[in-house]
């Protein structure tokens, strides 16, 4: 089963996704696909908090800031994969090469990797961020990123069995359900 979880920032998406992944795995192997590449102490603190939060939940952490399709090689098999987050994945693929310019191939690479997980994992939970509803005129750079993330989100929404919007920790089902 594949589940997509979206919503605004700081709504408890990661914690919720971890619970879902644990339940989906039904005692089987579970992988936490860590996508954040730390750049400063703030990032490192956030990562530490996430690691502490999931301690004792039985996740094995796989670092995949880029090339998310590579997780199977690293995991050496299937199981339940929690990809947290699509937002960071795209950021890394789009901006960390190409000398500061947005890489036009980034969306394609992300879709390639995500489709591997959708098709092979067994169970997967994807976390993304809803960044599409503010009254602001962004620069072209940021608009390009927003439009690209929307392509990934909509691709996942189409492919996943269940699509959830988390609002202040409460669940809105946009597609499917969770019978766990």
């Amino acid at each position: 089963m594949n589940v997509l979880i979206s919503g605004g920032a700081k709504n408890g998406k990661t914690g919720f996704a971890q619970d879902i992944a644990v339940r989906l795995s039904a005692g089987g192997r579970r992988w936490y696909v860590a996508t954040m590449i730390p750049y400063d102490d703030e990032d490192r603190k956030r990562i530490k908090k996430h690691i502490d939060d999931r301690a004792g939940m039985g996740f094995i952490t796989i670092e995949a800031g880029k090339n998310v399709g590579s997780v199977f090689e690293k995991a050496g098999g299937n199981g339940t994969f929690l990809v947290d987050s699509v937002t960071a994945l795209l950021m890394n693929e789009m901006f960390s090469t190409h000398g500061g310019e947005a890489d036009p191939e980034a969306v394609g690479r992300c879709i390639g990797g995500l489709s591997e997980i959708l098709n092979k994992a067994g169970n997967a939970v994807f976390v993304t961020d809803y960044i599409y509803s503010d009254a602001f005129r962004y620069d072209e750079f940021t608009e390009n990123y927003r439009a690209s993330l929307a392509r990934l989100d909509r691709y996942l929404a189409e492919k996943c069995d269940t699509v959830i919007e988390l609002c202040a920790g409460s669940v809105i089902f946009h597609k499917g359900g969770l019978e766990l």
């Binding site: 009254a135 927003r146 929307a150 946009h174």
Partner: protein
């Protein structure tokens, strides 16, 4: 009138095209530098027209009320711009408020209200 709302890049227009069988020639795309044209079945990007209203001292909701017979049977589409921080610029704040008021009016008047979330429809009315 059918009202469609949703964030940027969520597939609102694509949804409307499929749902109502709209051709490109039946869609009017609003701009921030132009008056709205209700001559086509679907009016898209209404948030651009409300920005035009802010810049030109027009009350968007009053304007819609005055032209009601022209859009009564239309498909109206507006971007949801209401979840970010309070905008810093005065015009942007006025724009958000005017768009919000207009959306509330249109929701009330609409036969159906649909929110599009990641390409998926959510029936609100």
């Amino acid at each position: 009138m059918d009202f469609i709302i949703g964030g940027a890049y969520q597939g609102k227009l694509e949804y409307a095209k499929n749902k109502y069988g709209l051709k490109d020639g039946q869609i009017y795309i609003c701009r921030e530098d132009k008056d709205v044209n209700f001559g086509r079945r679907c009016v898209y990007n209404i948030q651009e027209f409300t920005l035009y209203c802010v810049k030109n001292g027009i009350d968007a909701t009053e304007y819609f009320k005055e032209h009601r017979p022209e859009w009564e049977n239309s498909v109206l589409i507006c971007e949801d711009i209401f979840c970010g921080v309070v905008p810093l610029g005065k015009d942007m704040r006025a724009w958000r408020e005017m768009t919000g008021r207009l959306c509330a009016y249109l929701s009330k008047e609409a036969e159906s209200v649909t929110r599009i979330f990641l390409g998926l429809e959510q029936k609100l009315k």
